[in-house]
Symmetry: C2
Subunit: 305 residues, 2 copies
């Protein structure tokens, strides 16, 4: 980013930047296994630490995406301004339903320039001229996207520049050899900068009007996958749909998977672009309905549009 993207404005950056999370999500997908079982095995194998919080709750990704955001936009992003969600709440069922819809779940770090209101309906935020979204959360991404093929402990950063277009940088995200190689290259870089007096070879960013403005997650507009556990009786769907409607949240599809028996069944909603704040509030209301069992699960969807 410092040397190959001179003159580019970085419109979006998506990173799979934590090897432990990607290893767990990959195995959950390949084996249909549950989070706890895969985490326990990953800890036995030394791929996850004990306690595993730093990795699986997204804090390691937060640190890395903060650095990438700063490189992309030229201002230091305070960690507390980065909205972080980990992968603890992702279930085998979410991965299975996402798969049936053509999506893979990855923990993504996202740095996205948010366009002016009105110019791009799909990545707008409400009432602000220009800001940057900086966040970490599990995301449904289309199976056809190159990031969906980044598996196990591999990491990748997908960068979209306004001139260069879409690019991807891929390599191992864990392991002592890969880490040693990166450290060695950084040391050589620093030593040469000291020797030749070139502390800042290339301006690492194009100055722009978003400087310093990180959008609060509530105002960021996303698409959503929502999984509810509902009592299977007449009128349930109408009650839920009414709350989404009152909140001005559009439903793009509803899936009630077949083959589930018992008093409660899963019910999946795919939601249109809507502000995170509105969706969170609507889900609190929906969660209070007597027909809803347990907590609603909400995972954002990224179609890279």
């Amino acid at each position: 980013m410092r040397e190959g993207f001179v003159g580019n404005r970085i419109n979006a950056l998506y990173g799979i930047v934590n090897g432990t999370c990607n290893y767990i999500l990959t195995r959950m997908k390949l084996e249909g296994a549950d989070f706890d079982a895969v985490l326990a095995e990953a800890q036995k194998l030394g791929y996850a630490e004990t306690p595993p919080d730093l990795d699986i709750d997204g804090w390691d990704s937060q640190h890395k995406i903060g650095i990438l955001a700063s490189l992309a936009h030229g201002f230091w992003v305070q960690p507390e301004k980065i909205h972080v969600e980990g992968i603890r709440h992702i279930s085998a069922m979410d991965i299975k339903f996402a798969g049936e819809l053509g999506y893979t779940i990855k923990l993504l770090g996202i740095v996205k320039r948010i366009a002016d209101l009105g110019t791009n309906r799909k990545s707008q935020i409400v009432n602000h001229k220009c800001r940057v979204q900086v966040s970490v959360y599990p995301t449904l991404i289309p199976n056809s996207h190159v990031l969906a093929s980044v598996n196990h402990v591999f990491n990748a950063v997908f960068v979209r520049g306004d001139v260069v277009g879409d690019t991807l940088f891929y390599g191992r995200g864990a392991g002592k050899d890969a880490t040693a190689s990166a450290v060695l290259s950084d040391l050589a870089d620093a030593a040469l900068d000291l020797k030749f007096g070139t502390p800042s070879r290339v301006p690492p960013f194009v100055p722009h009007e978003c400087k310093g403005a990180v959008a609060p997650i509530a105002e960021v507009v996303s698409q959503y996958f929502v999984r509810l556990n509902v009592v299977d009786k007449p009128g349930t769907l109408a009650k839920i749909a009414a709350i989404f409607g009152q909140s001005k949240i559009g439903i793009s599809s509803v899936i009630q998977p077949e083959g589930h028996e018992g008093a409660s069944v899963p019910l999946i909603f795919m939601l249109h672009y809507a502000p995170n704040g509105a969706v969170t509030k609507a889900l609190v209301k929906i969660g209070r309905l007597p027909v809803i069992k347990g907590q609603p699960v909400m995972i954002r969807v990224e179609n890279f549009e």
Copy 2:
């Protein structure tokens, strides 16, 4: 490669480095179309030049892979030492049969360090201590490999370092904007080198014992996909298998696809690791058999082992 792989020996490098060829092969695969039809349309759309030889016969890839080989191994590779085959002879049938076997055909530039005889049966060459393969040819690669997902005008370079492991660099391989972005970054790099007097910031390679030794293609060991057009009568397979056997070339599988009618039928062989020279000679002999119609088609297979 100059800055991120300090201290690495580049064991292998595989590049999809020509946007025109990748566009044609992608459309042939997606549409089941023939080479000539897709080329004609690519020329209409401006994705291929007239005459298209520089791209589709592999010469543009030769130039690029020569530069990458030099960066990886620290000696200038003469273009005439780079074995080049283009994609003109690839048929819709080859792409279809490769697909049924789980492979995608890509034009690959390959730079591979060839290990000592005996240490690695799979990438040996005969009778030499250490050399580098530098070549360009259409290759069957497994669908599961990340390079198989590089489609249309996108390019990618897959680099395997002995310390860093596997890495991939991906972006647009055609179009004025992506080209402008790359040129701008190169100009900035050159200007800063001039300004700060750092003409050679980092040694771009690890010196090693292969210096200057490019292996002739005849001595390079590969796996192969061979498609023959044979007269469907008893004894045909025995005659062909006898020639492979006399040449000490192992057959890993034989596929006679069903549903082909007429006097001649396609017959596919997947061949074990063998020197290119031996396979070329055996195919000349096989091509002279009266039961063979037309030229044998040979496409190398790369399993990235």
